[in-house]
Symmetry: C2
């Protein structure tokens, strides 16, 4: 009842609780956090005061005193497609379970990325960053500040943990599957890609198997719209490919739309494949052949890895690759026994210089 901040927004402090309970703030703190001994009766009094005052410790105060934020950050390019949202789901779930809040940052269309990332870095205990959402020198800076850092789908990097889904082996498997359908002329739709990111690896994988039979084609972004426009040009021109391997499902969906628009039948006139196995892939017409990747698990693992780093466990320079799984549906060509589903591709099948690579190269 002495003025100042009585009942102001979130205004009750530990001092008021202490006064009400007739103890010192140290005791209130101990009672609440369970650190140090507190007599049963005292604890009772404190708890009652806390209840009555609806006291919640000020996060800023706690953070400052503890020297930690109990929060994690995550930086992604955007949340438009299902991919990042799914990873985020897995991430948030685990982080929350571990008692950490999640602060998000989307870089899409931002110019002051450096400042935004710094600001974010300042309010979390660790950060997850996707592929090429942040300039490399900013990453350097983060690493230099020894902020716990997990990179998803980013080239391996000393000082940071990296995590990704398998791409190379499944790309090869997908390419072989398409060869099995008898296609001979391919296009890879979905650049631009940055060295070492997922799309780059997918391209490397199919390229290894298909050699000169496949050609890369740019899209502005990884969206249905971009895929549609690029595919319209690609398929509208003469000498069109028999199969279009797309960098992700959204581009593939756009490609199917474009084919439809041009009066081409998928997969009869042109086969189309995607990547990720997003929800819409199942509902597309025809249903989309794609490569399923464990998006939520990716997020969950990132959260756990980060938690360990923050706890001081040194798994720096640890790099992990999760298994993916080709999902064969109608869009890649008529089914037959011999080209059936090939099962899960495990990371250990992934060998950059796999000797078999050249064998099945066409022509």
């Amino acid at each position: 009842m002495d003025g100042r901040d009585v009942s102001a927004a979130g205004g009750v402090t530990i001092y008021e609780v202490a006064r009400r309970a007739g103890v010192s703030i140290a005791t209130v703190s101990r009672a609440l956090r369970g650190t140090g001994p507190v007599a049963g009766a005292t604890r009772e009094k404190v708890m009652r005061a806390v209840e009555e005052l609806r006291f919640t410790p000020s996060r800023a105060g706690v953070s400052l005193a503890e020297g930690r934020h109990a929060a994690n950050g995550i930086v992604f390019p955007n949340l438009s497609g299902p991919y990042f949202a799914e990873v985020l789901i897995g991430y948030e779930e685990v982080a929350s379970e571990l008692g950490r809040s999640v602060v998000i940052l989307s870089t899409k269309g931002r110019d002051a990325i450096r400042d935004l990332v710094r600001e974010l870095a300042g309010r979390v205990d660790g950060l997850v960053v996707f592929g090429s959402t942040v300039p490399d020198d900013v990453i350097d800076e983060l690493v230099a500040s020894s902020l716990p850092l997990v990179l998803i789908s980013h080239a391996e990097r000393p000082g940071a943990v990296t995590l990704r889904s398998e791409n190379l082996a499944s790309a090869r498997a997908l390419a072989r599957h398409l060869l099995g359908h008898g296609h001979t002329k391919f296009a890879f739709l979905g650049a631009p890609y940055a060295t070492g990111d997922d799309v780059d690896q997918r391209w490397q994988g199919v390229r290894e198997v298909l050699g000169d039979a496949i050609e890369p084609v740019l899209t502005a972004e990884y969206t249905v719209e971009s895929g549609y426009e690029a595919a319209l040009r690609l398929l509208g021109a003469g000498n069109r490919p028999e199969a279009v391997i797309c960098s992700d499902d959204e581009v593939a969906l756009g490609t199917i739309l474009a084919a439809e628009e041009l009066g081409l039948s998928v997969p009869h006139d042109v086969a189309v494949t995607g990547w990720d196995d997003i929800m819409a892939a199942r509902h597309a017409r025809p249903a989309l052949t794609t490569v399923r990747q464990p998006m939520r698990e990716l997020g969950a693992l990132a959260a756990r890895a980060l938690d360990q780093l923050i706890a001081g466990v040194s798994l720096e320079d640890s790099h992990r690759t999760l298994a993916t799984e080709p999902v064969i549906r109608r869009s890649c060509g008529p089914h037959s026994e011999e080209v059936a589903y090939r099962g899960k591709v495990r990371p250990h099948e992934q060998h950059p210089q796999e000797p078999r690579a050249g064998e099945s190269r066409p022509r």
Copy 2:
């Protein structure tokens, strides 16, 4: 060079900068924030020291001193479907633009919601909460603590700003459109719904027009899976409806899947409609008739409203409804001129006791 936290994680403080620049911490602060006068030369020195030390003010310190977090929270049930993700996109974009970080919290599958929300509330300056993600008494508590609060798709509530998309009028329009197709027996697939939330309003709207010709059917959740299962039962039984109005696109997608499974043709044997116009709606077979709602705008407006509340602008008890737009595609029945697209439904057409309501009631 005096030990303690030299080059520790994010460890450089304003004191080190001050020492390096040969000034007091007050001056460093003023130079950095632009509050108070600082001589040009001094500013230079400070900036140089800041650069060299890669100093970023400790967020906790700033928050504590300023008494604010420069962060907003948002509570949603999950991020599985495109709906919440889209709203989040709009929200994050604006919040970030306004210099506020975004802390997220998903309540899906959580039991300690109350604690999680409290914890979240403690680290932000304001909160956006979706419909029925949080128990009402927790909302009460937030309101009581006078934390700036924006509720999306929640029944109006004194002490908080609410924001939603129009449902009633568009539900009526959709129902009339379906009547125009000649359907006479309907089902509304997608309960459970809480009083005052979006689905409840949609149900009220179609019910007004269709009266006893429509029957509500429960689903466990608003997901493709749930929709599929519920639709399988609904359409598999005798006496099946001619048209199924679904609470959202995902349930509708599941319904289409179920129809296919049962050998029923959509829309010939059964018409299906959704709500939201998510990406997959366009790619479904047949393409899904639905009601488009401005999801990103919803998020953006929430962010702005919250910012105003935080700034002290009193728009308490302000309630806003955004226009929606029916999108007629193939899934609701064969097209003909007279049942064509009816244009945008503006909020002012929405009158709970609209007199026309009864007129078109069937039978």
